[in-house]
Symmetry: D2
Subunit: 399 residues, 4 copies
């Protein structure tokens, strides 16, 4: 007794009341982020239920024909483009995914919006608040869906923290402290676009700091003022373009203190010079009724202190293994205790965007949109200004 | 400038010197393990490089037409079968993957081998050593590749531990202690095939204990004798078939002490009655030159104590985040510190089998084969015998 | 304005309704345990409130005149004796504290009881159950207070665990697993009385194992049967008496599995061959309603899982810093979070005995008395018998 | 065979080549710090070897006759004084120990120095840099030994960190981040002198922050500039003097970022509003060659990452149990792994001062002296100034 069944697209329809829409993807960039996003697109169809949309991996775009073809072949894109302008003319693409370096975030993304494509752009949105604002204005004007890829909002433990805050479990918030520590900058031999303002905008700030600034805004709310300093420990590296040595004109680390609109105060710090810290993206929140602590290196756990729930003599931080069907995103995965990895954040994130497109609702507040991307850039700019000027800087959004 | 590229199968050929072979998969079962294995088959083509073989998901087999069709559609199998005997006649299948309950391990697997299919069978291999031996004899006679799915050999941190042992980093081994603790048996309302000997063989022993017995054999070597006891805390549950109440005739937990051929001694323990322990599969090894400790709930870390490498006043267990390109399996994944999850063990495992098939080499010693599955069952039987008889039992393999 | 106040003895009276009694101490032995007990006697008068009795450090006894005089001078004993028989004639001594090696536990302690002294004896009580029984019979016949120094009952976190069990917080108990791991035996150069049966009775079993056996009995209740094995990894060492090489005739490690009268099952293990484990005395208890975990290397913490107290999505082991005024023994110490050390267990223990003497009540159930010491020895003997005979051994007390 | 030996004073002489000098102690204050210091004085004579001096507990001073007499009796002081001016006339006192509230630090300490007494003053030294400078000037002029009680320099793990830094194990230093979190301020019902500037100077800053500022200076070196903010979450509390409600005019928390003379940058933070953090005094240092991490709640451990010592695939933070004879201060204590507590820091600290007095050498650099106390106050003042002015403030010492 055999029976032929179809492949993925059919699969989706088989489970839903009717057929799910297909959304054509055009992707720019195929390195670290390209791999992570492509994996998400490939996994969603069979792991996420209910399935909102079937992603169709239409095209991958890059400048090197051989490399982009190899990547497209590997990840299953139907076509390659060597010029993003060409790709944006492709009618089979409804979603433009920008995974390129920071200096190619603005122009292609704006053009994509103008071409009526929904857009997903890696963080930081632009290299500056000004550039980010142009991107925000463009997507608004075009009326397309927009997401800025702050993927750590899609860690189950982080979303669980958000849920606790939303139900008032911590009461009034006093403190938020976050740090994002990595170690790879400590080697003077590393050379890449992330060390130069023309390509990257800023250094550890835009690369790592932007993530914890987003955590701060997502979990605590808007900051009102910041004081900061920056440091560059290795001031010259090989030019990533091969043109000899090049001055490092971005920060290797920044340190900031911040006050929030709700009265909380906190610290923000990021560095690429912390030996032994591989991907140490941490935060702690202290509120009137309890505290929460998180570390990305142990991302399936959330430490939670809620003394009001406990007997007096057994109070302490609980190490919650956020991996049960009642936890955020876990309906898609495994029985309790069978943990997921970093790449899963992208699966949740991209799926969130697909749902927003199909359902025609906002990416915010659980996903970061271009408003979040822009405001994040305002805060980054304020940190640089404060570090340069040696004074406290107020956070002022134009949007 | 656009260029059409093909889909997965083409993709694989594009990267290799020539085309990679396709291996057709026929899968029995579509629940927990079916989902984990299917995810592995779908991920390998674009994440594992170099790619040894392109898995073709030919058919899924189950008894309930509606359910198996839905699962096949979801995971992208081409066909469904309602009878595994029919599926084994399908010439487009080269690999039979048995993810069914323990009582359907032996017969279909033996038949598959007899039909010339390579076989991958979930653990425990058979419900008893005797049944397992029949399976081993069958695959040997058929000359097919055989793997028993002890997936924890494919945790990067476990393979790293193996590498340390292989290079003698711990010297003479004194101790191995392992426990596998879960909590879900503590609810009297849970009812399923795992509570009854006819379907499961044994309880926590075959389900969880088999994993740590495999760890013991993989890392330390053969045990020579064992003393054990078992306990069943809840002795009656609902019949999973719906026929009222049914006696629980398997262990809820076992405790064992063991001596190894190399002189090491240890403890083995598994239970489903440890509240708060979601998937606490742990071991510690103490040797003349150092110690190693592992916990599956934190599976990306390995704790390693190697005092000979340290200055005297800074000795201690190092918490190694096993997530760098130099670590086992990490060439396929992400930059350091971007951790992977439980499901990745199956990707590594299945790929290991595909490599063995294509390269025509043994699954052992890094993968577990049916010799491992059989010997594991001998030890499980010895544990039950020791628990019943109240005396130490020697481990004697017939193979 | 100055005012003369008196010294310690006066001090005690000043705070109580009336004068507190003085209890004269005669101590045998002045090495590791002698230092720990002497520190307790010196600290109690000014740190423990209310003060039950003022310990008077009357005499210290040892065979080497110079060494015992130096130790007595250091710790403030009034006299030294070179023969414990002489010391027992001293009427100013009401409490005999035996901190000598295991082979001088029985005879002096029995003689002290016969001389009407209360007795505190280091663990293990005797080298065998038989010797321990003689000691128990002697103190019973003499009607004196008797304590066996299982000091880990006096860790605040352990007493907190006891309190949780007493109030039924864990419900029915399923599992107890304990291990006591140290590393110093791994060096072949270590030579001392603890390696030889004539002086020590047993090895890691009586030295470390006795402690976790006491934890098992204190927290879970009586075991009914045990299966065990022992190992001796280094079989010859220098004679501690200087007479060349000497056979090691005690265990370097033991492994045991145990069943308790209440239906719980567990593992017990001790070794001196676990590199990196300095003083790793751990236990975990799993019950119907929760779990408890403890590690002496982090002795101010207790990990507690009580899901019934938590919201469903924030359940997990709490890391309780047992250091608040509501916690056991903490009324004597510091504001919360200002942790205490290992030596404090002796302060609590000795004070418990002084209170029992002054209040004329039993040392049990919170302190270990000679019944506990004897029963502990029965279990140790059963472990050795089981290891030798290769069969399960029932625990049978004659008292 | 009995032999009378003397009590403490004799004891000390018996072990040394000749008699050790006696140093008479006069103590002001008998609450938290009074208890901790008194315990140190009582413990040193029999636990610290070699013994530099025998502390003689001459007098305790306080305003409430009944309370001070009770405390003096308890801790074994010979006399009480109700006026510190009177006590300073007592010729049997050579060391004045000031454990009173911050507003009685300056005047009595200065008077003591003028009376030729050596001085030990609790931290913060004065309520302001100005007051602290007067104290420093006084002890310098008097030529007495002076110590400011930054006791965390005397945690073995902290001193071990210092040793690593001194031998260059971390190379160039990039980062220092420290926080000192407690929770007790979160209750609006707590009322005491620490909430008001007249008695305390500052809030969490002088109470907790001063400790981590001292750690920063001790371990990293001098800071050159700071930016800060402060917060007061509960602005009115009961007057500790009983006069109704009183405005809280000190900080409940501060946040600061700092640059050091050696180019390192960092964060400093203290709060009394972090539920679940009992005594969370932490720091982390990142340098070119490694990292160090410490947490006072687990004060016997030091986490150390020194990749240069490790094989490449087993690098990670080591959890060093700083409790072996080769570790700082451990020659006085117990076999490895038998941990000490918070109170031991005072034993080490006070003994360090006694050694400085007897040996006529400086308390610095391992102990904090009044130079350290003064500079600490300059930094505290700069933090307040920066928080008030909203600009970066340079650290400028007048000494």
């Amino acid at each position: 007794m055999s029976e032929q069944v179809g492949f993925l697209t059919m699969g989706a329809t088989a489970e839903a009341a009717g057929p799910v829409p297909t959304i054509g993807i055009g992707m720019l960039g195929y390195a670290f982020m390209g791999k992570a996003h492509s994996n998400a697109f490939r996994t969603i169809p069979y792991m996420i239920r209910p399935l909102a949309a079937m992603p169709r991996m239409v095209a991958l775009c890059g400048r090197n024909r051989e490399a982009v073809t190899a990547a497209a072949t590997r990840f299953g894109y139907e076509k390659v483009y060597l010029d993003w302008r060409e790709m944006l003319k492709d009618d089979s693409i409804q979603l433009f995914d920008n995974g390129g370096p920071n200096n190619v975030h603005a122009e292609p993304t704006i053009a994509a919006a103008e071409a009526g494509k929904h857009v997903l752009c890696e963080k930081p949105l632009g290299r500056t608040a000004k550039e980010s604002k142009q991107m925000l204005d463009a997507v608004r004007k075009a009326g397309v869906k927009h997401m800025c890829a702050f993927n750590y909002r899609f860690v189950p433990a982080v979303r669980q923290a958000k849920a606790l805050l939303e139900r008032g479990a911590l009461g009034r918030i006093y403190h938020f402290r976050a740090r994002y520590l990595q170690e790879w900058g400590n080697s003077p031999d590393v050379a890449q676009w992330r060390y130069h303002a023309d390509t990257a905008g800023s250094g550890a700030l835009g690369d790592l700091g932007a993530h914890i600034i987003d955590m701060a805004r997502f979990l605590i709310g808007e900051p009102t003022e910041v004081s900061a300093l920056t440091a560059t420990f290795i001031t010259e590296r090989d030019d990533p373009g091969g043109a000899g040595r090049k001055h490092v004109d971005v920060d290797d680390a920044f340190e900031a203190i911040v006050r929030f609109a709700n009265g909380a105060v906190g610290t923000l710090e990021a560095t690429r010079f912390a030996p032994g810290r591989k991907n140490h993206n941490c935060f702690e929140i202290n509120g009137e009724l309890g505290s929460i602590s998180f570390d990305l290196e142990d991302m399936n756990h959330l430490e939670v202190h809620l003394p009001g729930l406990d007997d007096k003599d057994v109070q302490g931080f609980r190490k919650v293994l956020v991996s049960e069907s009642i936890h955020p995103f876990w309906q898609h995965w495994w029985p309790q205790g069978h943990i997921i990895g970093w790449e899963h954040t992208f699966i949740h994130e991209v799926n969130h965007l697909l749902e927003a497109i199909v359902g025609n609702h906002d990416v915010a507040p659980y996903g970061a949109d271009f408003v979040d991307g822009y405001r994040n850039a305002v805060i980054c700019d304020a940190i640089i200004e404060s570090a340069r000027e040696g004074r406290r800087v107020a956070i002022r959004y134009e949007d």
